[in-house]
Each structure stands twice: as C-alpha cells, then as structure tokens.
C-alpha cells in the first residue's frame, strides 16, 4: 500500500503546483487588464511557465492512467487533450501582439482549468488521507495483531 501513498503524495504536490502556476497566470492576466504590467512582461512571464505546467499536468495524467485510477484520469483527460491540441497548433504561448483581443478567452480557459484543478485537488486530498489512514491502520492492525498476538 505504500506505493499508493507515494502516488497520492506525488499527485498532491503536482496539483498544488498546477494550481499555483495557473493562479500565477491568472493574476498576471488580470494585472494586465488593470494596466499594472505591460504585455511584453506578461507574455514573457506566462510563456515561461506554460511548458512546465503542461509537463506536470501531462505526467500526472499519465500516472493516473498507468496506476489505473480511472476517475481522476477522466477528470484530467480533457485538459490533457486541450493542452496537446494547443501545443500541436502552436497556440500554447501568449501572443503578445494580440493579447488584448484574446484576454478574456485566455482568462476563461484558465479559470476553467483552475476549477478542474481544484476538483482534482479535493479528490487527491481525500485519496491521500484515505491511503494514509489505510496504511496507518494496516500498520496499526499489524501492530495491534502483533500486540495482541
């Protein structure tokens, strides 16, 4: 059961980082909207974290699939598909020249992504606690057993 715990711990870390990256992008986008930063800074900041986010998300999704956790995988799959699509069409980076026209769309996508990340976050926490408790209980059982017997 230990590997389960490791998996969920890893998932926990990944989801936290995904949420952080997404929130960072969103904050930057709204900063741009309120004119706190210029589009050049915005695009360099966001573009720096786009690929890492894709990687983290992709690996997490793959690990769910490989470990046959179909439910979290299904939640993550649409995002993966969306990311792959963006990447293949080379639209994953912020286009500094058109950013203001795309601003609302970009924000919307990121908010949706953030919502999905949060939902997966809840699941991950739950499973993490579950597996941790189970593991402890197993050990406890063991110790109990050993204690009893």
């Amino acid at each position: 059961m230990a590997w389960q715990l490791v998996l969920w711990l890893y998932a926990f870390a990944s989801v936290i980082s995904l949420i952080a990256l997404n929130a960072y992008q969103l904050i930057n986008l709204s900063d741009l909207e309120f004119d706190y930063i210029n589009p050049y800074d915005l695009s360099s900041r966001i573009n720096a974290v786009v690929i890492p986010e894709f990687l983290v998300q992709g690996i997490l999704c793959a690990s769910f699939l490989l470990t046959w956790h179909w439910f979290p995988f299904l939640i993550m799959a649409p995002i993966t598909y969306y990311h792959i699509n963006l990447f293949l069409n080379r639209r994953h980076l912020i286009d500094v020249t058109e950013i203001f026209r795309l601003l609302n769309g970009e924000k919307k996508y990121r908010i949706i992504k953030l919502a999905i990340y949060f939902s997966i976050f809840v699941i991950v926490i739950y499973r993490l606690v579950m597996s941790a408790v189970l593991l402890l209980m197993d050990e406890d059982d063991g110790s109990l057993e050993s204690g009893i017997f």
Partner: protein, 1035 residues
C-alpha cells in the same frame, strides 16, 4: 446673449455651444418644435427645468425666431402638415410625397432640427421651445396644448413613429390646427421665401387632391429612387405637389390661416422633415429599375451637419461615429445590428487655413482632469468664479492653476475664451512639457533594408529606389537631426559604414546568419547632414554594386534582427524592400497558398495569417523600441504578404504591394509612393488613447498599431494616411447621462523634435430611440468599421463566412428598421431603409466583391488579397469609400472638345457594363489605380494619339506605359489624370490601358470591378437588393 446666468452650472457646457453666434443661428429657435420631440424621445421627461430657467431666454429666442431668415430654409423642403390622411394613403403615395423632400436632407438645416436639444445638457433652446409651445397654447385652451404636445411627441425626429401615424389620427386636424395657429401666433412675418414657397404649394394642391384618390392604386415603383437621384439635381418645385396625402389638412389650413401661413407652414414643415428624413423609405419591387437605385456618385459626404449642431466638436475628418447618437441602454444597442463605434483619423490632412492650432501652456503645464486625465476642452465648465473647472467626462471638480486663471463673465464663460483655442475648438495641439517624455525626443530616423537577391536585380529595382531616396534626402523631415542607415542582404548581410570621415561607404559583410552581430558599434546609422556625401556616394553606387548578383537566397529574418539591433536605441522607420520569399535563417517562409484543396475548409484562414510566429514577435519587439516597419513587396511570385505584412500591422506601418514590378511601368508609382512615405509629416514614437464619458467604453480597436494596455495604442510612427477604427460597448445597462463626450489624444514627437499632444474632442447625444440612431447613422464610418471587422474575420474564418456575416448584419439592421415603420405605413412590398443608410447595401455588396473578400481561390491571388486586406485596415473613410465605389468617368468628349466641356461630362457614372459605350473612352479610378478603357469603336485617331502608337497592330497594352505624347489628346488626357491624382495625393494611381474585348485583361482589370454587374458567383446590384429585401422581410 446667454441670458441664463451661471446659476445653473449644468448649463455651462451648453454655453460654449451657443455662444453669441448661436443666437442668430436658426437652429436654436428652430429646434423649438423639433427638440421637444427629442426630449420626449430621449426619455427625458419634458421637465419644467429648462422651461423655468429659460424664462428670459424665451423672449430672446423668440425674437430670433421671428427675425431670423434661416427658417426659410426649412420651408423650402417643407410642406406637409401632419398626416391626417395617412391612413387612407397607400404606401406609395407616401413615398411620392416624400420624394420632393429629398433635397432637404442635403440642406444643412436638417440636422439642426433634432439632435441639438437632446445633446445639450440643458440648453436654452429647449427652454425656448417649451415656452413657445405653451405660451401660445394658453390662449387656445387646453386642447390645443395637449394636441401640440402629442403631435410633437409623435413627430419624432427621425422617423415617422407609429404613434405619429396612428395616434394622432383622430385629433390631428384640430391639433394641427391649433398648432399651426399657435405658431402663427408668434406673428411670424411671412418671409419672401416662405411666400414663394406657399405659392407653388397652393397651386399644386388641387392637383394633389385629385391625385389622392387615384393613389390608392399602387403607383409606379421605384419612383422614390428617382427621387434619390433627383437629390443630386433637386427638382425643387415639383416635389411640392408631393404632399398629396396631406391635402385634406392643407385645405383646412388654407382657408383658416391667411397671413400666418408662413409660420404655420413652418411648424408643419418641422414635423414633416422629420418624417422625410427619418424614414425616407425607398421602395423596390421585383423588376426593380436598376437605374433608380441609390448610388454614391458624389463620393463620401462627411457628416458636416454634426458640426452645426455641435460646433465645438472636432471636424468629422478626424473623428466619426458610426451613428451620432449613443444608445441609452443595452437593449437598444442589441437592436442596432450594425457596429457601434468610431473611426479616428488623428492626423488627417487639413485644407489650408484650418490648421490645428498649437497651444503652449507654459509653466502651468497641460491642464488635465485629476482623475480621468482628460485634457481641457471646449466642453469643460468653469465655475466658482473661474477658480474651478468641471471635467466633462467624469464630472470631477478640478482646480484651475493660477497661471491659467481667468475671470468669468456674467454668463459663466471665461472672458478669454476667444484667445484660447483649447476652449473654443474641438481640435488642438498641446506642446507637451518634459513630464510627457520618457527620453529626449527622438530624431526622425530612416533605415533601409534592401533585398538584393537576383529577383530584385532583374526587375530593376535598385536604380529607382536609390534615385528616389537620393532625391528625397533634402526633404526628409527633421533636418538637421535626421538619421539614416542602409543594410542590404541576400544570403549574407551587407552593412554599410557611413562614417562622416570616410569618402566612400564601406561595405561590411556578415555571413553568420545564426548569430547576428554588428560589425561596427556605430556608424551604421549616421546623422544625415554630417554624412551626406557618404550617403550620396552609397546611393550612387548601389545600383551598380549588385547588378551582377546572382544570389537567389534572401535572409530577411536575420536582416530584420540586424536592423533591430542597429535601430533599437532610437527607434524610427524601417523600410523593407523585399522582392522574393525569405528563404534563409530565422523567419524563412515556405510556399503555401497554392493548395487549392484548402479553400472552403476550416483551414482556409491559416493562409491569411502569419505562418511563422517569428514575424509577430519581431513586430512586437519593433514596437517596443519605437520602430515602424513599411513593407515594399515586389515579387510576382508568392512572397507570403500575410506573414510580412504582420510586421507592418503591429508597428503602425503600411504594406506597399507592387506585384510583378517592372521598372518601366511601375517606376513612377514606386517613386511617388516612396517619396511620399519619406517626406510626409510623420508623428514619431506616439501613443494614442481615446477617452470617453461614463457608461461607454471602447472595447476593440482595429487598424495598424499595437495595444500596449487595454486602451492605449502604441504607434511607433503615424502619419496622415492612417486611420483607426474602434468599437464601443456600453458598460451599464442604462445610461444616465444625456450626452457622451469622446476625446482622442495622440501624444507624439514631431519631426522637429517637439513633443506634442493632439487632442480631438467630440460630443454625441444619448438617445432612447432606435429611429434616431438610424437617422444619425454615418454610412462611411459604418462601412469603414464593418470592412475592418470583415478583414479580421477572414483571418479566423472562411471568406464565405465573413461575407455572410456582413450580409447578415445588413439584413438584420434593415429588418429592424422595417419593423419600426412598416406596419403603420403598410409598406408591405417595399424595402425601406433610412435616408442615412441608403448606400449601405451597395457598399456592403461592394465590400463582398472587394479584392480582400471576393470569391475563393481563383478570384484573387493570395498575396494581393492579403495586401488589400492590410490596406483596408488603415484606409481613411473617404479613400475607403472611393475604393469600394470607384469613379467611372467618360472622358472622350473632354479630350475632343477641350477642358471647358469637362464640368459637364466628368460626371461619375454607375459602375456597370451598361455605362460603357463602345464609342467612348472611360477612365476608372479607385484611388489606387486608373484604368483607361478604350471602346471598340473609338476613333483610331484618338487612340493613336493617346497611346502614341498604332493600335491596329494590337500591341500588348499590358507593357505599355502611358506617357505624354506630342498631341492635343495626349496632353489633355494627362491633364485630366493629373487633376484626378491631385484629388487623392496619398497614393499614386498607376494608369493602365485596356481595350474593349481584350481578354483576359479586360475582365480582370475592369469588368470584375464593375460591382453592379453580375460576375461569377456574385450577384448584381439589383439581385442583391432583392436578396436583401427578401431576407429582411422573412422573419
């Protein structure tokens, strides 16, 4: 003149509007009847406020009223009283009656009528208006008064509103009576004009009466159209017979009112005009008479009338709204299916004598609102004895700096208003102090990036470019600070050292395209006046230097990077001369666009967007460093203008596409346009922002610029040939203000090194009535904005979709308009549209047939399509309309009979093959090129004279350059061409000659551009109108 004291601050804005000159203006008094309407319609209750306050005014205004000649104007068009007999009338009758009135719209007077009152916060005129109505009414007793009110309400300015037709029906006669009597009560002495007017009217009356019954039979169709055309050559009197329907009313009046008739008429006229102008329905039936369709044969008519209502607005050449009436609510906006926005042309060329005044505030600094940063403008109001001013955009009370203080006179105006252009003119230029600079103002800088690969050598480009640049050196703006530099490239980059101590330029070759470096830290970019002799030497040897170059590669991407490195410190203008597809290094492009299969699929649009993100990134970097890029593309083969053009698009540049460049034929065009590009007055390192009052917001911007923040347009260089369009959105569901102000501010560095702010201010009324929006619509601005939206649409959708979207917008707007009026007019079988939009269907059709949007794969080469698209994104309204409905003139008689004949014959013709007579010679002018069409049966003498060769041998006319020959015909033709070119100096119209029946050139050059004709896959004008009509009818 302004009696209303400063007791009411709200009035103050109005004050400037109606300065002393206003008093004489007929408009104010006149409005009286109209405006009421405006008030009522705008949702503003007919409050007593204006009324009260203007007690004193009334008298004055009234007197104006009486004495002022202007009313006469109104009478002219006038005639019809309220529509008593309407119900009985057939729609056609209605139209007929309207016909006469078309001329009025042309009259300046018209505008006055409606909008002013609505717009002005609380204007004296309104006050006067009420009093007028009421005072007379009192004697008459309540009934008249109410009648007057109701009638006034019902005669909503633009349209004949439903109520006007149905509601007043029972009471109309008495009410009108009352009304008419009332006005006369004002004792207007019938002015001569009026009496004149009356005479014909009465004469016509009997006839009309007779006609009335007859008209129940549906009359001739399309007659209104004739009228439209008639508008050009207005038949003043015959129309008078028009008001057939009204005659019953007229009867009553005539007997009852003898002398006062003038006034009577006037009041009625008022209503009537609003009828005619507003709803101006045209009618069409199957079997439409093509000749009678409306055509913009006079070119663009700027809505100058707005200037009369809002004399403090900037001239419409700088700023035009798609409709000069802002909807008051989201729901109203949703019913306005056309784009709502503005077209801004900040540096439009002005005729001599109207230059934008320059204001220097000196130590006081530029006066701006603390909160919204609005610049001081004619609409701000001074209060507190001149110590404070209220911002007209955000209503914040600001302090007046000590240096700027000036006492107010009794009416609340500043005493020095006449000396201060910023308080009396809508367009001014402020000299910006150092706070407006992030660095010392840059010098004008020109950097030339010239492709010297074999294709450029072959077409003989260098010689012309080098000569033109050399001839312009003396005229480059900004002497003696001007900087200049050159870089040539093929598969390597050639830098040119122009150090002033050298006698000959040095060429430094860099072959490493992956890791660009500058061989010299400076001296690649030099001060022109210091290094003039070296620059001259370089331009002398440039053509010969590369004449044996056989290199086929072109490393544009690395060259752009190198140019960027050279220029990044200063910014400036980068001119790229590209004659082949970039093939080496970053930014290399591949052939695309010859794939037929991609057309009609969802991927079609990818051909029209930059393929390599390199160009967009480069453009962003250029803009960041204040570099503007102009692209000159010459190749006959595919050069991916879509990608190259994005460099110009995001840097405020321009795309010059001269496909299949041949020195012999194209040199004059290149020479002229390059010279204009170099020598026209240019605004450097500029930013533009458009502020607007509460409740509205500019949401999207269209043109060549880059957005630096949500509403700040970065324009590294901008000049008089570039216009920008933007769309408005409402922020609140309901607008609380009655007037919305707009302020365009362009902060730039002039070539002389001065930082300036050009400010254009405009006001527009908020209306609650869709009809008023239609009434105030501006076809030119709508088309300009619509075309930009369509072009952008083609970059993400199919061409077909973009065209359909435009058609949909047109149809929806006409349907909405129809819903407004069709019921009570019973115009069942007609297409009705507002007078203000009568050309809209034609322009939309023409837009669908324009090079950028027409057909599919085979209808226009991809590069030309993209270049046309880039061009349309920057065109000012006038040139855009010219491009969409080019001029076609018959000039053979001019050539034969001489110039005195020109006035008559240079009338613009309809763009249809039917206009072409094989015995004549025509010239087609779309603002970008001339096409001379020689009829088959044209006299050989004339042809030979013009062409300077014997045409019987069927020479190849495509290679022919039209030169002046030594005979009378040729000289006259050249004079005509010169005159036409002078009309539009921003572009050189290359002249091409085509003979009738010379296929395929005739088809591609001229016939496909005759937009009223049916060509493959597109409908003719008549079909189009029918199509639009059918769609607008189906619900």
């Amino acid at each position: 003149m302004q009696p209303m004291g400063n007791d009411k601050p709200a009035n103050v804005p109005g004050r400037p509007v109606l300065p002393s000159p206003a008093a004489p203006r007929p408009s104010t008094p006149f409005i009286s009847s109209g405006p009421v309407v405006g008030l009522g319609t705008s949702g503003v209750p007919q409050t007593a406020a204006p009324f009260l306050s203007s007690g004193p005014i009334t008298g004055m205004q009234m007197s104006n009223y009486r004495s002022s000649p202007p009313p006469i104007r109104y009478n002219g068009p006038s005639s019809p009283p309220p529509p008593t007999s309407y119900p009985g009338q057939d729609a056609t009758t209605y139209q007929q009656t309207q016909a006469p009135r078309f001329p009025p719209p042309a009259q300046p007077g018209t505008p006055l009528r409606v909008p002013p009152p609505v717009g002005l916060p609380v204007t004296p005129p309104m006050g006067s208006l009420h009093p007028q109505l009421q005072i007379p009414s009192v004697p008459m007793g309540p009934p008249p008064q109410t009648a007057a009110q109701s009638s006034s309400r019902s005669y909503m300015p633009p349209p004949v509103s439903e109520s006007s037709f149905s509601a007043p029906r029972p009471p109309p006669q008495p009410s009108l009576h009352g009304y008419s009597n009332m006005l006369p009560g004002g004792n207007m002495p019938p002015s001569p004009a009026e009496t004149q007017f009356l005479a014909p009217r009465s004469v016509s009356q009997p006839a009309s009466q007779q006609a009335f019954p007859a008209f129940h039979v549906p009359p001739v169709h399309a007659s209104p159209y004739h009228v439209h055309q008639g508008g050009v050559v207005p038949p003043p009197l015959p129309p008078l017979g028009g008001p057939l329907g009204y005659n019953s009313r007229g009867q009553m009046q005539y007997p009852s009112t003898g002398p006062p008739m003038g006034g009577n008429l006037q009041g009625l006229v008022e209503e009537f005009q609003s009828l005619s102008v507003g709803s101006a329905p045209g009618s069409l039936d199957h079997g439409v008479d093509a000749k009678s369709l409306p055509r913009p044969l006079n070119g663009d008519e700027e809505p100058i009338k707005i200037q009369e209502t809002y004399p403090l607005n900037c001239h419409p050449r700088f700023f035009r709204l798609t409709t000069h009436a802002i909807p008051s609510s989201q729901s109203l906006l949703a019913r306005w299916h056309l784009p709502l926005g503005a077209v801004v042309h900040p540096l439009a060329e002005v005729p001599d004598g109207e230059e934008v005044p320059i204001v220097n505030f000196g130590p006081a600094g530029v006066i701006r609102c603390r909160r919204c940063r609005t610049y001081v403008n004619p609409y701000v109001t001074f209060m507190d004895a001149g110590r404070k001013w209220r911002c007209n955009l955000c209503s914040l009370l600001n302090d007046v700096p000590g240096e700027y203080y000036c006492a107010l006179d009794a009416s609340g105006r500043r005493c020095d208003i006449d000396q201060r252009p910023e308080l009396s003119k809508g367009s001014v230029e402020f000299v910006a102090p150092t706070e407006y600079m992030v660095r010392p103002p840059m010098p004008p800088l020109y950097f030339f990036l010239i492709d010297v690969s074999i294709s450029a050598v072959r077409c003989g480009l260098f010689e012309i470019v080098a000569k033109t640049i050399k001839s312009c050196l003396d005229e480059l703006p900004g002497f003696p600070r001007t900087q200049i530099g050159f870089l040539t490239f093929d598969s390597t980059l050639h830098f040119h050292n122009l150090k002033s101590s050298l006698t000959q330029p040095q060429m430094l070759v860099v072959a490493d395209l992956d890791d660009i470096f500058l061989p010299l830290p400076d001296d690649l970019l030099v001060n022109l006046s210091d290094s003039r002799h070296v620059v001259d030497a370089l331009l002398d040897i440039l053509p010969s230097m590369f004449q044996d170059n056989a290199n086929v590669e072109s490393a544009l991407g690395p060259a752009l990077k190198a140019a960027f490195m050279v220029m990044s410190q200063l910014g400036g203008k980068l001119l790229v001369f590209q004659s082949t597809l970039p093939s080496l290094g970053v930014g290399r492009l591949r052939l695309r666009g010859d794939d037929l299969r991609i057309y009609g699929t969802d991927k079609e649009h990818t051909l029209r967007v930059p393929e390599d993100p390199f160009y967009k990134q480069m453009a962003a970097e250029f803009t960041k460093n204040q570099i503007s890029v102009d692209i000159y593309a010459f190749s006959e083969k595919y050069t991916d203008i879509a990608s190259l053009g994005s460099l110009a698009k995001y840097t405020g540049g321009q795309v010059y596409h001269l496909p299949s460049f041949q020195a012999a034929t194209h040199q004059e065009k290149l020479r002229y346009e390059l010279a204009r590009d170099l020598t026209r007055e240019t605004a450097w390192e500029s930013v533009m922002r458009i502020r607007c009052g509460k409740g509205v917001r500019f949401s999207t911007y269209h043109g060549h610029f880059m957005l630096r923040s949500t509403d700040l347009l970065a324009l590294p260089a901008v000049d008089c040939d570039k216009a920008f369009a933007m769309q408005l959105s409402l922020e609140d569901t309901l607008m609380t203000t009655q007037i919305v102000y707009f302020q365009v501010a362009l902060l730039y560095t002039s070539s002389s090194g001065e930082r300036r702010i050009r400010v254009h201010t405009a006001a527009a009324p908020v209306v609650a009535d869709l009809g008023e929006m239609y009434h105030q619509a501006d076809t030119g601005a709508i088309i300009s904005l619509l075309s930009r939206l369509a072009i952008e649409n083609t970059q993400s959708h199919k061409l077909e979709d973009a065209r359909q979207l435009m058609q949909l917008k047109l149809v929806k707007s006409l349907k909405e308009y129809r819903n407004l009026y069709v019921m009570q007019h019973r115009l069942g079988g007609r297409l009705i549209f507002p007078e203000s939009l009568k050309f809209l269907p034609l322009y939309v059709l023409s837009l669908c047939k324009s090079v950028a949007l027409r057909g599919g794969y085979a209808d226009a080469p991809l590069d030309e399509r993209c270049a046309a698209g880039y061009n349309m994104m920057i065109l000012p309204i006038r040139r855009m309309l010219k491009l969409l409905y080019p001029g076609l003139y018959k000039i053979d008689e001019n050539l034969i009979k001489g110039p005195e004949y020109s006035e008559k014959s240079s009338k613009q013709l309809a763009l249809s093959a039917q206009s072409l007579d094989p015995r004549a010679l025509y010239i087609y002018d779309d603002g970008f090129s001339f096409i001379i069409w020689l009829g088959r049966m044209l006299s050989p003498d004339l042809v030979n004279g013009i062409l300077g060769l014997d045409v019987s041998g069927f020479p190849d006319l495509s290679k022919l350059a039209l030169l002046e020959h030594d005979n009378e015909y040729s000289r006259k033709l050249m004079r005509i061409l010169k005159r036409l070119r002078e009309k539009d100096p921003s572009c050189f119209q290359l002249c091409r000659v085509v003979r009738q029946g010379e296929q395929p050139r005739e088809g591609s050059l001229l016939l496909s551009n005759l937009i009223e004709d049916q060509t493959a896959g597109t409908s003719s004008y008549v079909d189009w109108i029918l199509q639009v009509y059918r769609q607008s009818q189906s619900s």
